[in-house]
Symmetry: C4
Subunit: 387 residues, 4 copies
Amino acid sequence: MTAAASFATWRRQIHLWIDHGAGDDLIATMLHRGLVALICANVVAIVLESVPSIAARFSVGFQAFEFVSLLIFALEYAIRLWAAPEHARYRGLSPARARLAYAASVPAVIDLLATLPLLFGLMGFGELKVLLLLRLLRFFKLGRYSPGMASLSAALAAERKALFACFVILMGVMLMAASAMHIVEHEAQAEKFGTIPDAMWWAIITLTTVGYGDVYPVTAAGKAVAAVTAVLGLIMLALPVGIVATAFAQEIHRREFVVTWSMIARVPLFGGLDAAEIAEVMQFLRAQTVRNGAVVMHEGEPGRALYFIASGEVEILLPEGKKRLDEGHFFGELRFGDMAIASHSPCPNAAVATAPSKLLVLDPVDFHALTKRHPKLAERIRALAQA
Amino acid sequence: MTAAASFATWRRQIHLWIDHGAGDDLIATMLHRGLVALICANVVAIVLESVPSIAARFSVGFQAFEFVSLLIFALEYAIRLWAAPEHARYRGLSPARARLAYAASVPAVIDLLATLPLLFGLMGFGELKVLLLLRLLRFFKLGRYSPGMASLSAALAAERKALFACFVILMGVMLMAASAMHIVEHEAQAEKFGTIPDAMWWAIITLTTVGYGDVYPVTAAGKAVAAVTAVLGLIMLALPVGIVATAFAQEIHRREFVVTWSMIARVPLFGGLDAAEIAEVMQFLRAQTVRNGAVVMHEGEPGRALYFIASGEVEILLPEGKKRLDEGHFFGELRFGDMAIASHSPCPNAAVATAPSKLLVLDPVDFHALTKRHPKLAERIRALAQA
Amino acid sequence: MTAAASFATWRRQIHLWIDHGAGDDLIATMLHRGLVALICANVVAIVLESVPSIAARFSVGFQAFEFVSLLIFALEYAIRLWAAPEHARYRGLSPARARLAYAASVPAVIDLLATLPLLFGLMGFGELKVLLLLRLLRFFKLGRYSPGMASLSAALAAERKALFACFVILMGVMLMAASAMHIVEHEAQAEKFGTIPDAMWWAIITLTTVGYGDVYPVTAAGKAVAAVTAVLGLIMLALPVGIVATAFAQEIHRREFVVTWSMIARVPLFGGLDAAEIAEVMQFLRAQTVRNGAVVMHEGEPGRALYFIASGEVEILLPEGKKRLDEGHFFGELRFGDMAIASHSPCPNAAVATAPSKLLVLDPVDFHALTKRHPKLAERIRALAQA
Amino acid sequence: MTAAASFATWRRQIHLWIDHGAGDDLIATMLHRGLVALICANVVAIVLESVPSIAARFSVGFQAFEFVSLLIFALEYAIRLWAAPEHARYRGLSPARARLAYAASVPAVIDLLATLPLLFGLMGFGELKVLLLLRLLRFFKLGRYSPGMASLSAALAAERKALFACFVILMGVMLMAASAMHIVEHEAQAEKFGTIPDAMWWAIITLTTVGYGDVYPVTAAGKAVAAVTAVLGLIMLALPVGIVATAFAQEIHRREFVVTWSMIARVPLFGGLDAAEIAEVMQFLRAQTVRNGAVVMHEGEPGRALYFIASGEVEILLPEGKKRLDEGHFFGELRFGDMAIASHSPCPNAAVATAPSKLLVLDPVDFHALTKRHPKLAERIRALAQA
């Protein structure tokens, strides 16, 4: 192996450690847990440091901890940047371009901003209050480790135009409410509604239904305006909720479709099918939700069905011992005529859900219907099974 | 019958009494109503006992009631644990394993926690204020008796990752809002925004749109930060709503599909069909919503259609008297050519909805279309009808 | 005509006047508008009467108006009860049973309660404050005239179990929050959190995100409990919203399907098709949304397409003048081969939307695809067209 | 060219400049940006002018700016009115009728109202406070430039009946809550709940969950009423949210369908297909979401697939240089047997997403399935490709 190959191998290994912490690798898991813990400890430290009595007592400790953390975060940023060409997303680009593309991505920008206080500190501006915000930005580094965050941000990004329209409407309604209130109340409460900017403060707090109660109308006309504003606030609330709910529902459906598809394509027998044929198979899957502890396959019931785990975890009993399977795996055996499709050889003896799980089941009866309706597909599966 | 068989029969009987209270059995119904009443009485007693004047007056009564309740709840827990192997969910496990699995389920843990004060009381720690929380946990024992609770918790469990991501986002936004407010307001209101933890109290109350009004900004910059925070609060509100709405909608669809399927499979004539054929029949059902008191079948109109009750209650008139049918049952008669599918023999004479009901109707015209499009299915139904 | 027949005819006429106000009948329209105006005037009067200065000044007027209104409402109730056997919903029942069934319906109970103050007044209890609530119940008489109310109440009724489960969860969370707050704050603020009922007031106002600010925690532990409670409040808000949104979406889909179906069945040519064939036609309709003022059909473009109005209003130009069509009507002409399906004879020359409208369009190209895929349907339509 | 033709050409050119600012035309883009900037500057000026100290200092400047702005807006309104006959929406109407129809549209009415202060000012009523509202109405002129606004208003318009029913329910609940509160609290707090109008103020602020805290109950009965009202407030909130969410979801689905349809119809090869055939092609598209910077097509992979951009932006590499494509365009090459469908000639060498994008992909494998299942469609595409 040449030096360049060895170098690329190392870069690949480090990329896997630092970016695929959810797998089985012990180093990757430790690394990720360590970074998550460090981020949380940082945020707690920043919050506590703002309390004068605590800050005075542990002043040296806080500074040391901040300095060490900053060094680790800077190192993390450098390593991630260096390993960026290994990302599947940037494959095919030159290393320099891949790093540039990575540096422009949202998580990388957050990482960079989170290390900036180090630079400011070295430049002697470490006492600026505004640095607090940059330091707290570290919290969002957690986003990388949350599997649900990707769905949420994809949903929000998909409907950014509609959300912006909502914001424009909110601004417009706020302006109208504020000026109406200014007109009717500026004589009764000159210090609170004397100018439109003053009234805007009241309007935004009312439209968002926060309602602190530091400013409220006292005249009958003012109360009427406030009542209308409060009811409009309900609509202002309904618009983003409706948009986010819709976008999120679509995102979930897309995600589920992709998960199901890739599960089926992973079954060795179905792997040889083309996209249209996999879609046919998908339509014959039956959804089944099982609770934690539910027995999915009893001992001594061979050839019952094929089970695909859409979410959750199932423990199967194999001759060589127990094995836990999670999202994306399948198990069971499907006997049909002279064909048998099994997940393992020999087939597992029993299966128990070890978490609330959603399974997709392919029953012999459905498989029968599938092959009856698509004889060519059946022949093809038969041929693949005998191969 | 041997002693072991008799024992198993008893256990089965007690399981049916204690776990299937919605059926027709009088003992089971009484038992369930009694337990629900006891839980409610307990919660009321705990709340009243916290009022010093009432507690002083009925002190002995409260103590006696608490003691008796605890004994009953402990007994209930023991019986449920003993009867656990009869649960359909744990069938196929050994009795000991079934009990262990049951003891680890959420309702059993709530039951156990609800009886803990008895133990603490016996150990002499009965005066601890924290016991209040354990005692109030009894309220959640009601969850077992609410049919909608299962749907809700299934929906929440399905999207727990996304809800956790929401929570992480809420924490992040809260931290940023709090530190921004701390920076701009700590001079104007040192006692309220002097430290970040103080500002966090303001931030969380604003982001959740509660807005007590005990803390609010007074400077222009502070008001600008608060306005942005309040608007972000709308998004913080929209995210969980969107997620829960989506998850709940999916849960409902799944539930309805299962209910419909099992209703059709219960029709004697369709029971012999395979899964794919039942799915064909399902597509030809027409939904109909009727109000309380609506006449579904008039007297002297035989062979009109088959009605499946998806929800609600219908009273049918049979020669031997009236009979009430609820969710999951079917009635009516479908005459088609030389075939007749009837729910009862002879067919009911009339039917009136006794609650707002949702019916799925199989009309002769739809049945005709079904048999025309699937001649093999028609032949099969014909064969089954003549058998 | 015999007296009984004449009587039944009168009852039918009065039923049509009083229950079908949305039609073309002038008397029915006047009657309905008059009743809506009377209800609104009543509510305004009741609200104004509660202001002592106004009540003192117009005392006699208010009493007279109330008395006249009560007489009219009592008369309305009596007439509706008498005409109940004409309701399509109660057809097939004896008059006495139909009236009993009607009297037990929600609108009738509201009508009855709204007239009760008359009875109480005659009995000398007219001064009771509680009568205010009975009098204001009149407002809900408006529900009868709002077309959207039926959809809303159907949606709420469909998910009443889930909403009840929400309420149980809300109660449980409220109890836990209240007792937790009572434990941590009862020493700091004995007058506000000294008993659990006191703390419950705080808990419910926080969980619903109202947050008056009359009660709020002051200790650090109390603020932590309040923060958790406020976040739980977001979930408490998300649950009913998710349920109502889902239920309402289903209700809308059901309603739209029924509207579309009945529109197609009303086209003379399609009226002879059976249910399955109408469903085939439905799949070939293309949705089109037009703005107010949009030109749907230009002059001199015959045989363009058939347009069904799903919602909104369209003005068509016929040789005899202009005509406005609304929801449920269709217009246009579809020429295909030797067939021509026209809404009017001769076909309208032009069409302009006079409100934002949703149209379902059957194009010649789609009709071609329909007949190619279902040759039997095409033959049948051809036969019907030539008949 | 005659004078009339030249005139019509000018009108068309001005219509394109003033109404199609999103295109490539430099003048149109400048015009639109200028108008948006002017509107924003106007709103800021109006808000600032309400602050006495600022108004006094820059009095002349504000008046001059207002006057110039009004002139520009009046000119804009006149030009738009004059160019109205060029609108696609009013094609086929006479110029006078087109202008009348345009003048009655919502954006035109807003434009007119925004110019009214000019008229009032000329008539000497320029000092009226109410003019503030008319002047702030300018803000809504921005609606014309926001692409998401159309979706939102279409969604709201579609469910206006249900939203009105919500409003009626809100009014009814508010009336009942206010009178119940008036009954139980008017003795304890005569100045706050002494009359129903006073109590209505409390009721609306509680039901919308604003909760200022200026009025709240102090008696136990009053607190019970307030608790029920607050919980009802959650439902009042859930109703509009559910309605808006449903309406918006439907609007999005409709929009996406239309976008996809028109994209496929724009592929030269598919343009010759009829509606039913395009629908067939649509079913074989596979959705793919790519991040900013993702490489969609690598260099040297010809004939991979056809990509349709549903949203976002993609940069393709052509022999003549780079080119950015956005929503509605397609790129790539599909080789299948002896056929090749390409977006450009020669086919682009590489493609990189320059924004988070949603692509619809037509793979050779899916295209194969499509042609196998619809041999006539395949023949037709083959014929079109060779033409």
